[in-house]
Amino acid sequence: MKKFWKDLIRYRSYIIYATKANLKSEVAGSYLNWLWWILDPLLFMLVYSFVALIVFGKGEPYFPIFVFIGLNAWNFFSKSINKSVKMVRSYKGTISKVYIPKYILIMIAIMQNLFKMAVAFTLVFIMMPIYRVPLSWYVLNVAPIFFTMFVFTFGCCTIMLHAGVYVADLSNIIAVVLRLIFYMSGIFYNITKRVEEPYGSYLLNFNPMAFLINGLRNSLLYSQGVSYRMLLVIFLIGCVLAVIGIRLIDRHENSYVKVI
């Protein structure tokens, strides 16, 4: 773990430069540039609003923002995981030429997605006054929730990166699993209201993403608090995953090149 902190400092300028470069290259070829980072969740918000409101006729207060928050948080998590699974393979060129701690690569991916999420969230803060959402001090809970989400995502990513090297078609499985978790995280419906007990509580208590997204909405839209105890548990789970993942990577990263 000591090596991890040292590397983080040593490679910080690399992380920053690579994040910037990747973000730049992502938008380089398209007409609407970075607007896509907002447009993409926005359009999906319309799709899900259509499904929920017109098809099923079951909305929530401030429904568009409700969906938008869920989608953004989910995108951050799922894109980071997806990328991590294929990470070593996609960086093959670089890592077979020069040593780089592999969790640095995860850091880059997460920073990249974090930035995109931040851009998209500006829209949330624009939409809130339009929809006349009452503000409360609970908004401040957003910070610990995001931080927990960051740590938890990082932890998952380290494990996925390691597993992705040795199991060639893991990314296919992960796509399915992520889709399942997507539906279980209440991105476009309210778990508490729509899922019957005791399953609703199960989903919220055993699916960290569902809990975190729910927490974000409660803090921003519905002036409700979050369970700090639960938040702490998820944070600790994230830490444990990260420690295990970093150890795994540390021990095996020198044979990654031999495998891919």
Partner: protein
Amino acid sequence: MNAIEVRDVHISYKTIKAKSIRQTLFSLKKSTSDRYEAVRGVSFDIKKGEIVGLIGKNGSGKSTLLRSIGGIFSPDSGVIDTMGNNVSLLSIGVGFQNELTGRDNIFLSGLLLGFTKEQIQEKYEEIVRFSELGSFINAPVKTYSSGMHSKLSFSITAVLETDIMLIDEVLSVGDRKFKKKSYAKMKELISNEDRTVMIVSHSAETIKKLCTRVIWLNDGEIVADGETGEVLKQYNEYMDYQEALMAKADKAYWYGKVKVKPTQILLYPTYARYCDDIRYLCQYILKHCPDWEVVWVKHKENEKIGISSKRLKMVLEKTPEYYRAIYSSKIILDDGMNLSKEDIKKHEEQKIYKILKGALGIKDINREAVSQGKKNRSAKLVDYCISNSDFETGTYQSSIWKGKQVLETGHPRNDVLFATESMQKEKAAKVRKFYKIPKDSRIALYAPTCREKFMHGKEWGELDFQALREALHQRFGGEFTILARTHRKDRGKWPEVESSPEVINANNYPELTELMLSCDVGITDYSSWIYDFLLLGHPGFLYAPNAREYEEQRGLCYSLEDTPFPAASNMAELLEHIHGFHEEVFKERAEAFLKEKGCKETGTACQSLVEHFRREME
């Protein structure tokens, strides 16, 4: 001070390739982990500033070792210590991120090599300039050609200058210009005494020029480690041995496995250039026999023979294709004992033709330094001997080819000596153009035969070219340019004639016959070309200062006095002979000589030979 220390390093690849989920779930056996040990207990120290070459055949662990030193993967056991130096690895297939621009990749690579952003910014311009990428630097790397890729990667490593450079087979990137440039840059980098360099290359030439020390790896173990020349010598010996083994296997394998193609003809020259018989015959066949398949044996991979035709198939000596071509050719034409270099079996229906270069020459071919095994094999293989005279036929009959059928068709190389004047003039003009000889200048060719082993290192009695020119001028008029040409086997063993406008070193001209056509006067010692030259009727002289010794050691078929040419044993005599040259007398002697030797040359050798081939094919 050491820059790299490697102690008892083992590196193995487990052949657990990445598995699919199906394999993970359903493979009954717990992975039968095949361990492949790429590097087995290697130890060495490299001092700061040393330039070390790493050689070995494919799969000997060179690149694996290099990558371990570069920190890309750690050894399974043993220690690699690079003493805190920053290390860069340069290898083919570049470590770029394809989506990003060249500019971004420069910065990212630099940061990974341990430089700060400011340091990279400082060198940025230089890198771009060296890489010759221009505005492409702002385009994503995925749009680059492979050459641009390699150029950029080389430029980054070369300009950023790390303490230790590990170079894996990249000194051959880009076009010729860039290659030269990168090579020069490499030399410059290496000349810095603080920089430690390890080079992996298959090119012995590169290693020889750049490295002071060489480590030879074989199957993951060090075979030799020491001074460049010494190790390279051992390595080359080993590679030759391996190649010979491989060739032997191919030779045995293909015999009987390929069918003889009734219209395939194989041409086997001794030298790629300087093989006028085969060259002229080849051109004749390509022109007149459209349905024949023609195969030419080359001696080196990138040999140029000066004939370009899609119909001409080239095969490299001692490759599988070579053996297949030999076993499948109906007709084989050999202008030496090339086919007999090794023991080759032939099929019953294959016919092998042999051409002597000596022809009417004075040298005794039976005393040529050829191994007995080669002679025996040649005697067994050859079906037809090609001759141009009663004399040459007699030569065959008294040689190892005794009893073979002799075809008195003449030599293909001499056809052009009987060709129309305009054609001859065209060829002569080619020579003048090649050497930029003015139209009004006359030309004399001086081309002695090869100095046999016994003559090497001895005084040869050099010609006084200026005196020679003066004498030729006085006797024949006009200003003479002299073309001086050494025998193929003597190149590099004899101080080369330095070219001046009056005396030109003509070693690099491929066709001796064309040189003859451009000349007014010929001079040699014992070389047989002068007897081909005789067919043109131009004056010729012999300058043979060591005649007695040569006759004793090497043997002559007839005495120098029996030739139509005035023979001189020193410079004064040669000049005297030139001054006293009598055209009528020479012509008489020449005619008598050709008649006595029973010369059969009529300029139709190609035609007659091709007719003979055709009959054999049917």
